[in-house]
């Protein structure tokens, strides 16, 4: 879907955070994307590659941690693994499973280049 909008969101967070911590160059960006977050990870990488160009995180390594999807099964009255929104409960086969986790899209952390490694820009 709108991966470019998400990439813009990542860039804003990365640039503001790097600035707040006095970082001149970001070496690595760690993202957390939920399995049920409706994000195409490869499309997001592609957009990030474009949008981070010429900024503090130009060329930064993008690490994407996928957090597992979770749902609440009304039949079992318990939390179960959920890989797709339309999947049945792996325990009882019921479709009465409401997604409860794995929908997040977060910038988790950044690696800022050490002082001696800063580029001239």
């Amino acid at each position: 879907m709108h991966e470019m909008s998400l990439a813009e969101g990542v860039r804003n967070i990365v640039e503001e955070s790097a600035c707040a911590h006095g970082g001149k160059r970001v070496e690595r960006v760690v993202l957390q994307i939920g399995e049920l977050a409706a994000v195409e990870v490869e499309a997001l990488r592609f957009c990030l590659e474009l949008i981070l160009k010429d900024g503090v995180a130009d060329g930064a390594l993008i690490d994407i941690e996928i957090t597992p999807g979770r749902g609440w099964c009304a039949q079992c009255a318990s939390t179960v693994a959920l890989a797709q929104l339309y999947d049945a409960c792996p325990q009882c086969g019921s479709y009465r499973v409401q997604a409860t986790g794995g929908t997040e899209m977060r910038v988790k952390e950044l690696a800022l280049a050490a002082t001696w490694g800063q580029s001239a820009s």
Partner: protein, 299 residues
């Protein structure tokens, strides 16, 4: 412009007039375009990929590159859509304080959103004040159809954008005469994918699915049906001419979202319309009750 879904920025318009730019688009000028990049033969670090399977949706992707030990790690823990969500919260507060019941109507193009709106406004005329925000990539056609009913409407043209966001709606709120204890209908850009992720500050997302689209849409585009609280099944006057299984679409929609409420209706024949109006009126009653006593809306 995004090569994935056509999403882009820089062409946003309100009632046909250009919006001021935030300056956040410096890396992607409107004239730049990018061709689709073929997938690399070697899988990216951490992706679960085998020779006969390219999996874009699963797998542990936490790969740490060597040689970065000198770097300073900074914990951020910020939601990527946090800026939109904060603006949406501000919109929601503004609307709640005034007792405005707000619906975000989402669907694919051509499901009958505008017709549903026109019929709703006509039937509520004289009893409930209605204001409309219209989202489309181009033209003011929809706003003009709404204005013809007498209701105030603002058209947002997103240009290349594939969805409305909270900032656009926040701007629209300042430009519309929105009455206290009224109904605000936001007709999102016709797109069954992107608007699912963007909170605008609404009370409910309402997904509209027309019977001509087929029963399998909830499974094909699950995110939208998961994000919605109500599904309006529109154009049911056409059912005699179609092979459309009502029970199956309800089953598919409930697989994605067990809490989804279903309302089959036809704006043409009027069938089911009273249920839709009753659902709106109960929402209006709740919004009116939550109206803050400190505001002048305690009339």
């Amino acid at each position: 412009m995004c090569s994935v879904c056509g999403c882009g920025s820089g062409e946003l318009r309100y009632n046909g007039k250009p919006a001021a730019q935030s300056g956040a688009n410096k890396a992607t000028g409107p004239t730049r375009s990018y061709a689709f990049r073929p997938l690399q033969a070697q899988p990216a670090a951490g992706r679960t990929t085998t020779p006969d399977r390219l999996d874009y949706g699963s797998g542990p992707a936490h790969a740490h590159a060597p040689g970065l030990s000198q770097a300073q790690m900074v914990s951020i823990e910020q939601n990527i859509l946090g800026k939109n969500d904060a603006l949406a919260d501000a919109n929601r507060r503004w609307l709640t304080e005034r007792g405005v019941f707000t619906l975000n109507l989402v669907s694919s193009p051509g499901s009958g959103k505008t017709t549903l709106l026109v019929e709703t406004i006509t039937r509520l005329a004289g009893s409930v004040p209605v204001t409309v925000i219209e989202g489309d990539q181009q033209t003011e056609f929809d706003a003009e159809r709404i204005r013809a009913t007498g209701a105030p409407a603002l058209q947002i043209n997103t240009g290349k954008g594939c969805h409305l966001d909270a900032h656009m709606v926040g701007t629209a709120l300042t430009r519309l005469p929105i009455a206290e204890r009224s109904l605000l209908l936001i007709e999102n850009v016709g797109n069954l994918v992107c608007p699912a992720a963007f909170d605008l500050g609404e009370a409910h997302k309402v997904v509209i699915l027309s019977v001509t689209e087929g029963e399998d849409k909830p499974l094909k585009y699950p995110d939208m049906f998961a994000a919605a609280d109500l599904m309006v099944l529109s154009k049911i006057d056409l059912l005699p001419y179609l092979k459309f299984d009502l029970a199956r679409v309800f089953d598919y929609a409930h697989r994605v979202n067990p809490r989804l409420v279903m309302l089959p209706l036809s704006a043409t024949s009027g069938e089911g319309f009273d249920d839709w109006l009753a659902w709106i009126r109960s929402g209006l009653a709740r919004s009116g009750a939550s109206c803050k006593p400190s505001t002048e809306c305690m009339s």
